[in-house]
Amino acid sequence: MLAVKYLSKQFEGLVAVKELNFDIQEGEILAIIGPNGAGKSTVFNLLTGTLKPTAGKVFIHDEDITGLKPYQIVKKGVARTFQTTSLFDQLRVIDNMLIGCKWRTRLGFWNTLFHTPGWKSQHDQAVQSALETLDFLGLADKALAFIPTLSQEEQKRLAIGVALVSKPKLLLLDEPTGGLIREETERIAQFIKSVREQGTTVCIIEHKMQMIMGMADRILVLNYGQKIAEGSPDDIKSNQAVIEAYLGGEAHA
């Protein structure tokens, strides 16, 4: 469903991503792994329009989306989360969800100002889908809570929920379990699997090997902005280049 062709990004001479080719299949969980600084988050930023690539193209269902703005790419059905938990932390849980599904509604300026026919049903629909997603997240009873009162795991969950509420076809998750302890990580992993079962394709950046091996259908390994391996978890485990990259990475760190 998503195809990346010869994607490159340079920052003032520094190559962050180099001639990257890969695609994401409908319904799979694709994991992108690699040592720190391998360019994983940069890839996400390039896919979602936060950064403009120096060269190369990104396609969704054969439609060229390179150079579109982030809010336009969302409308193509690609939603994302950020590496550091990013929420509207001055607002309530339900408000976060409503903002997440706003673009699918026709709740714009004039409709809101004049309460045009259809405004009410649109509004109720938005609240409905926000509540449904909260239910799916297991946060239904927290709808009116303010963000700082949530636990870290709940915040991570909600951040995924804000991306999920507009029913994207493809969900990009940037280290969704960073900073969480083992049980929490397992719960989030379980949750991500259920997201996929609902029919959403998932692409995930992760550091926690064990979790990734148990979850991903395919794994893509990046090092210094280049693809060094791609394949099933078992292939990756025994891949010599991957092992070297990781050991090398450890040694430097």
């Binding site: 703005k69 982030p70 994302r80 950020f82 001055q90 706003k102 809101t112 804000v162």
Partner: protein, 326 residues
């Protein structure tokens, strides 16, 4: 999405009743004038609140747009156009000019946006003081007619020479502004303003066209700033470049910050209470601004949500305390 508790509704009802009955107390004409002005300022500050308080973009051109409305109504009504046509026209011109300056200005962020809008405000102020043929230069325009009387079948007409009629006119526009602001802000659409203030990259990432949303907030704010300016000249009967000066913007800012940003009550409380406080402090002379300057600094450091936000916080603390006790 949750309804307000019953005692809050009662409080607002009581305030509305008091506002409607206020002329019966027959305040002295001077104080009455101050109150009428406060209500006009409340409209302007509510508008400023939309762009600064809710959307988080420090537009410091606010008095310039107030000035567009003021000069617009002054010039049009002097040319014989009915006030009832001139007022919406002037407010629309103000909004339209916002639509012109908005796109370049909104490409900048943070304090850059503040300085660009301030620069625009200063240009408007200088032009108002020097374009003598149109604005009357530094002397301004005098003898602006009062709002055109409204004919009522069989009963005669409502005229606006009396303070009481002027008061109700201004109050009606304030209530209209409050109604519209309430509708816009407390809605899914209104949440997008706050989303931009709170976390613009995330707003962008969840499909909000942040540029257009900011532009809508800016233009709407400028429409109501122009409306307030138009009402102002029709009541005062004269206009001078000071209505477009950055000092007036700073005054609005004081009302907004002290009253409380990002609430609908805050701007009204600020615009109502501060001018009256300023009148009381009249004999302090220039010490007044010293006082308000210090107050502004202290508020933004220690109570960034102003008076209304502070009270809400206190209420919340009391509620929490009760909950833990029971």
């Amino acid at each position: 999405m949750i309804t307000k508790p019953i005692h809050t509704k009662l409080l607002y009802g009581f305030i509305l009743l008091a506002a409607l009955l206020l002329p019966l107390y027959a305040p002295d004409p001077y104080m009455f004038q101050v109150i009428i002005m406060s209500l006009i300022f409340a409209i302007a500050v509510l508008a400023m609140n939309l762009i600064i308080g809710f959307t988080g973009q420090a537009s410091l051109a606010h008095a310039a747009f107030f000035g567009f409305g003021a000069y617009g109504v002054a010039i049009m009504t002097k040319a014989g156009i009915s006030f009832w046509l001139a007022l919406p026209a002037a407010a629309s011109i103000s909004a339209l000019l916002g639509l012109v300056i908005g796109p370049p200005a909104l490409r900048t962020r943070g304090s850059y946006f503040a300085i660009v809008t301030l620069a625009f405000g200063v240009i408007v102020w200088i032009v108002a003081g020097n374009w003598v043929q149109v604005t009357g230069g530094h002397n301004g325009i005098f003898g602006i007619p009062r709002p055109t009387p409204i004919p009522i079948p069989f009963l005669g007409e409502i005229e606006f020479f009396e303070q009481t009629a002027q008061y109700y006119l201004v109050l009606a526009f304030l209530l209209l502004t409050l109604f519209i602001m309430h509708r816009l802000v407390y809605s899914v659409f209104g949440l997008t303003f706050m989303a931009i203030r709170n976390n613009e990259p995330l707003a962008d990432a969840v499909g909000i066209n942040t540029f257009t949303t900011k532009l809508i907030a800016f233009v709407t704010a400028n429409f109501f700033a122009g409306l307030a300016g138009g009402l102002y000249v029709a009541i005062i009967g004269a206009v001078s470049p000071s209505v477009a000066s950055h000092m007036l913007t700073f005054n609005f800012l004081i009302f907004l910050i002290l009253g409380g940003m990002a609430t609908l009550t805050g701007p009204v409380v600020g615009a109502f209470a501060i001018p009256i406080l300023m009148e009381w402090l009249q004999e302090l002379g220039h010490f007044r601004m010293l006082f308000f300057g210090v107050l502004l600094i202290v508020t933004i450091i220690y109570f960034p949500r102003g008076l209304v936000g502070g009270i809400r916080q206190l209420n919340q603390k009391i509620a929490d305390w009760r909950q833990t006790k029971s």
